[in-house]
């Protein structure tokens, strides 16, 4: 069957499933809207957490990024999963015991301060919107490539679907839809990975195929990859290029950032008991690990396949997928030596990195760019985001697998977008309105405002998707850096110390935030030309600076608390209470 028809069928069926689940599990109170009534089974919550957490970035971009980074790509693998250990051991059980609705709820109550709550809401909204922008771009890419509709139409369809189940269903609707979305996305990720692993190594388990020998050749896959890359002038795939301190700090920032992400933390408020919160974190990480251990295998397979298919092949006889991606502007080829043959190598093929296309075609039919060509021999620009999506096509897998990958990518993007929208809406209706500005509203009015703010947040997210701000890629570093330097430390200190008081928490959050923000803004926006290891503080890149921001936060919070009054007696009782499961 035709790929496009198949994609419509499979993606359409998955959408129908999500909406069906949403209608069946409609929320009728604020309790159900914010935390699904607190009665979600730990395994179901584990799946929902996994879908919530694994975003378009994990599904679409991560394996592609790793395939070009090699060993250093481990910062994402370890950083994003290691954060779960922090979450499970240091936060989830205690916050579950605290037993309220939102992350700012905990910060506001534990630090007995509306200012602390307000600062927490600001951090939360900033982190969450940064994230949503990325999800909407993911939805746009998938729709424009596989359904061949306009990106804007794609974003609007995505918005309508999320609107139906997030606004109606609240946390309850989102939770059960995310369970379904996890199943769709993991199946969609594993099927092509298994296929490709069998094709290349004969081993059906990608995690093992990755360390096996190539079929009918007496050489390990990774050794072969090193060899091929060396021939082209690249570094070894299995060797690290970045400095140790930078790798260390990026991993740390991603870990602390993950543990401080509000939309993930809030999932642990939905299970019935403290022990369920612990178990559920275990299930969530297991479900995530299935994808995260497969991803680096996919990275190495796709890098090898890509080079084998493209390098030294004639443009006119390249497979159709190459031209399809070229047509939507995510691949470009510039025939530097006029031989009609594609050459791939290290360095950017074009100056200014990204291609700017003219309307003309070259003599081989390729799209021409108006960029100046760089001096190296590389003729290929490839957007790293397309590796996972193009992978099944590169390996010439059947059409239904390709359609499945499209549905999986949509599930990953939509599930994360919905989770983020929910924390934004609850922060506005619950923390800002009910707890700070208009305490007189009743439950029904609060529920109305929750739905209203979810709807507004979806509209804003959609605008981000249709007019993607040019800085989306640059601000991703913000989301983790900010969560690591603001939210994570005050949560930890709120549980593990009785001495940290409101002044300490506020000064801590603000100093961590300002330090991290100014470092990132300086290197990403004010002086991007200085963004190189020679100028970085201790050689730490803006992606990893959140770790230092976190230390700044701890430091000022402790100093300030030790010279001001200790928290009142009832706060000590509250802390004692959350430390005991019963």
């Amino acid at each position: 069957m035709d790929l496009q028809v198949l994609t419509y069928l499979i993606a359409g069926a998955s959408f129908a499933l999500y909406i069906g689940i949403a209608l069946w599990s409609k929320a009728s109170s604020t309790n159900e809207f914010y935390i699904a009534g607190g009665g979600v089974h730990p395994v179901a919550n584990g799946m929902a957490t996994a879908a919530d957490w694994m975003s378009a970035a994990s599904f679409i971009s991560m394996a592609g990024i790793i395939s070009f980074m090699g060993k250093d790509g481990a910062v994402y693998l370890m950083g994003w999963t290691g954060g779960y250990v922090l979450l499970a051991l240091l936060l989830a059980p205690y916050l579950r015991k605290f037993g309220k609705y939102t992350v700012p709820d905990f910060i506001g109550d534990r630090y007995y301060s509306k200012i602390a709550r307000f600062v927490a809401v600001l951090c939360l909204i900033f982190v969450s919107f940064t994230y949503i922008a990325g999800q909407m771009r993911g939805v746009g890419i998938v729709f424009s490539r596989f359904l061949e509709v306009d990106i804007n139409t794609g974003v609007i369809v995505g918005m309508v679907i999320v609107f139906i189940y997030a606004v109606l269903g609240g946390m309850k609707g989102i939770t059960y839809t995310q369970v379904a979305q996890y199943c769709v996305l993991i199946f969609a990720y594993m099927v092509p990975a298994i296929f490709i692993s069998i094709l290349i190594t004969g081993n059906p388990i990608p995690q093992l195929g990755f360390g096996s020998k190539i079929l009918s050749e007496d050489i390990y896959l990774l050794d072969k990859l090193n060899l091929v890359l060396n021939d082209l002038g690249f570094n070894n795939y299995t060797e690290s290029v970045r400095s140790k301190i930078d790798v260390f700090c990026i991993t740390g920032a991603l870990m602390a950032g993950t543990a401080g992400l509000p939309h993930v933390i809030v999932r642990f408020f939905t299970v019935p008991r403290v022990r369920d919160a612990r178990t559920s974190a275990g299930w969530a990480l297991l479900f995530i690990a299935i994808l995260y251990t497969t991803a680096p295998a996919v990275s190495s397979f796709s890098r090898l396949n890509f080079i084998n298919t493209i390098h030294n092949s004639e443009y006119q006889t390249t497979p159709q997928w190459f031209k399809n991606w070229e047509n939507i502007g995510l691949i470009s080829w510039s025939d530097k030596n006029n031989d009609g043959i594609i050459q791939y190598g290290p360095g950017n093929a074009l100056e200014n990195t990204k291609p700017i296309f003219s309307n003309k075609r070259g003599e081989n039919g390729e799209r021409l760019v108006i960029n100046n060509l760089s001096k190296n021999k590389n003729e290929i620009y490839i957007d790293r985001d397309i590796m996972v999506l193009a992978n099944p096509e590169i390996a010439a897998l059947p059409n239904w697998v390709i359609a499945l990958v499209a549905a999986g990518a949509l599930a990953a993007a939509l599930s994360t977008a919905a989770g983020l929208l929910l924390v934004i809406s609850s922060a506005i209706s619950h923390d800002l309105l009910k707890k700070i500005f208009r305490p007189s509203i009743n439950d029904n009015q609060e529920l109305f405002f929750a739905r209203l703010s979810a709807a507004v947040a979806i509209a804003i997210a959609g605008i981000f998707g249709i007019y993607p701000p040019a800085f989306v890629a640059q601000v991703v570093a913000f989301a983790f850096g900010l969560a690591a330097s603001s939210i994570f430390p005050v949560l930890i200190m709120g549980i593990f110390s009785k001495r940290i008081n409101s002044a300490g928490a506020i000064i801590g959050m603000i100093s961590g935030l300002i330090f991290t923000l100014s470092y990132i803004i300086f290197f990403k926006f004010i002086s991007p030309e200085l963004n190189a290891s020679d100028y970085w503080l201790f050689g730490i890149s803006p992606e990893g600076i959140g770790v230092i921001g976190m230390l700044v936060n701890f430091f000022f919070a402790i100093i300030t608390s030790s010279i001001t009054k200790p928290p009142p007696e009832e706060i000590k009782t509250l802390v004692n209470k959350i430390r005991q499961p019963s």
């Binding site: 060993k71 481990a74 370890m78 999963t81 051991l89 299995t238 260390f248 022990r275 612990r278 275990g282």
Partner: protein, 83 residues
Amino acid sequence: MKTHISYWNANLMIVIFLLSIWFLSSFGAGILFSDYLDNFQIGGFKLGFWFSQQGSIISFVFIIVLYCFLMNKLDKKYDSEED
């Protein structure tokens, strides 16, 4: 109150013990000693590379499973189980 304190201390010991494994398997084997471990080979993997892209994640899952097990046992000992 006294049992509360000893429950909390036991809890902290478990957390510290597990976080040291967490640190060793990721920051240790995956980053700091990774180059040294690359001298050893399992299958087609250099050991340091394997830890950074596979082993650390697998240990994380085991750490949380172990945590659930140890904490449930502790809850039972202190009769701190929920209904």
